[in-house]
Symmetry: none
Subunit: 200 residues, 4 copies
């Protein structure tokens, strides 16, 4: 079992990194949030960078595991994609801080950001595999699985984040949870039926 303090620090670090971004996040704040001395962080992590990378690896691993589990219980690619969208939305909402990190800290040129994107690519591959299997079985009609996987990931992520920030801004007490059905519905409609009216 990992050392108890490591977890405490992890918890605190996600909070602080998500609130302030990597650069603005201060080791002091993380230490205070974790209730440990600053030195203690350096006893367990070589540097701020390493702490961040550890954090993000852990988080992305959990996202990918979560996605895998939700996929595993279905056979058809269509059902799997549906389940993945469902899982993605729920995970991003239950792990709001991590979700913010994904959009905030994954698209730069720094080493840690490239590592972040490497993890994201793992996740994208997962999506891509579903799409490709669907192409093979004839369930899906598409020609560019890689680009489409990005579209799925981008759409699902931005829908949730945009909603979170939207509610935060208006200071409404309305919980994001109440909006889950609308978000999932929108995403599933888009990716399954498209927007145009096929009945005509």
């Amino acid at each position: 079992m990992r050392h108890e303090k490591v977890d405490v620090i992890f918890q605190a670090a996600v909070q602080v990194f998500a609130e302030s971004g990597f650069d603005q996040a201060k080791m002091d704040d993380i230490a205070q949030a974790a209730g440990v001395a600053k030195g203690t962080i350096y006893y367990h992590f070589k540097s701020k960078e390493e702490l961040f990378v550890g954090l993000m690896n852990e988080g992305m691993k959990r996202l990918i595991d979560c996605a895998r589990r939700s996929i595993a219980v279905h056979d058809s690619p269509a059902e799997q994609l549906k389940a993945l969208l469902h899982a993605h939305v729920h995970f991003f909402i239950q792990n709001e801080k991590l979700a913010k990190l994904v959009l905030n800290e994954a698209f730069g040129t720094k080493e840690r950001q490239q590592q972040f994107r490497a993890k994201i690519r793992e996740y994208l591959n997962l999506i891509q595999e579903i799409l490709q299997k669907g192409m093979e079985t004839g369930e899906f009609q598409l020609e560019h699985p890689q680009e489409t996987a990005s579209a799925v990931f981008g759409a699902a992520s931005v829908v949730v984040l945009q909603k979170i920030y939207s509610l935060e801004q208006y200071g409404t007490q309305a919980s994001v949870e109440a909006k889950i059905p609308a978000m999932i519905d929108s995403l599933q409609r888009v990716f399954f039926s498209g927007l145009t009216n096929h009945k005509t």
Copy 2:
């Protein structure tokens, strides 16, 4: 010319901000890239923050104008959405630096980031209007135009950015331009037909 230096600084700032992110970007680097003294930047902009905000306002304004123009030449919402996706992809590729800023610097809690999102919301509203008009004309089948607008924006943005970083990483000389058709095609397929095979 009155604002000769201001433009030079703007150009340099986009480069540096996009390469390093707001926090890592050094005013020294921007000055050097612009070929002016550091003080000159402060003669024209009150602070790093203001320079950034001016930059992103200008950039988002251009994106929104570009989108508006591409929409204006079409009547049906379906054609307009198609044109918007097309314009978005082209704009993000031609303004790669700004595109990176959107995903890097727009989703935090800082004041400047909220201003950034306010501008993005303007753009989202543009998309949402198209969707709503389509709902009224019966061309579009959807229930949550706001969420769906986020999905459109997220999908289109991430598809392009992911492609850009992907090519950068492998150091291939393959130009992003060559991938434009695949990206646009993927997006249009998703949002128009959806992924599932309706022929069945």
Copy 3:
């Protein structure tokens, strides 16, 4: 006749120097207050330092002239000291900004401050001469004219300044002018009768 702009700049500079102190005073502020461009100041004065020195010379010259004039109309040293106290209080109130400069900017180790004190010493000498003449005529009873001159200057200056700042702080509309009699009376009583009750 001196150039018109020089006076305008002088006026503005006293204000700004008095409000902010030499170091915090910005040439920009002086220029704006004077309604001229910054370059114009440098056309007339070699540097901030020189502007300050010119200013203070001019101001101290006026104080000394004012004191001399008030002394000239009296013959006895006692009457002269009385007149000088009177003149000092009035001058400090009518030239509040200069008065502030005296206490703010005259007691440091910088070159300009030593020049300032040299001017003040001129003024102190004037006081000292009165005291010495009084010693000779037997009107005054004192042994250390130099130290006593400092006491006169210090008492008179601080009484006025302390009053000015006192009224400023409480934001009262009460004019300093209304307090002139009390201030002059206090000073004259101290230096003429002392505080102890001689009637006993």
Copy 4:
């Protein structure tokens, strides 16, 4: 010892602030004078301003305590005023740096300077109380205790400071200490007997 460094920094700061004034004083110089790294100062004090305020609070507290002690051993207001003048001169000479700060940095409009004057007012109140008690007992003849308190403070402070700078300027090795009797005598004569010859 817990606050070892804080004291060292305090000592160094008084020196540097007194020599250069608040604005010209460089944190680098204070750090060097204290023999600590610049960061160490900021570990203990939030800013240059706070360091200064802490310093002057401490200094004025010591001056006021010193005055109180010298007063406490006497009963009659006259004896008390005499003792206070004596104590003031000695304190200003033994704490020359602080004395310079009083005249250099207490009479501006900045927040820190107003705090400084608030402390000075505490001291002035002490003087004023003596004067008022003397008025009640009939020992003192005066009508404006507040203005007179300013006169006492101003006279005593300027007498000492003027002497210090005077000796510094002529580079004489003559110690200020040798002039103490002359200064105290002048002040006591002024405030007790006044300057005019009452024998006539």
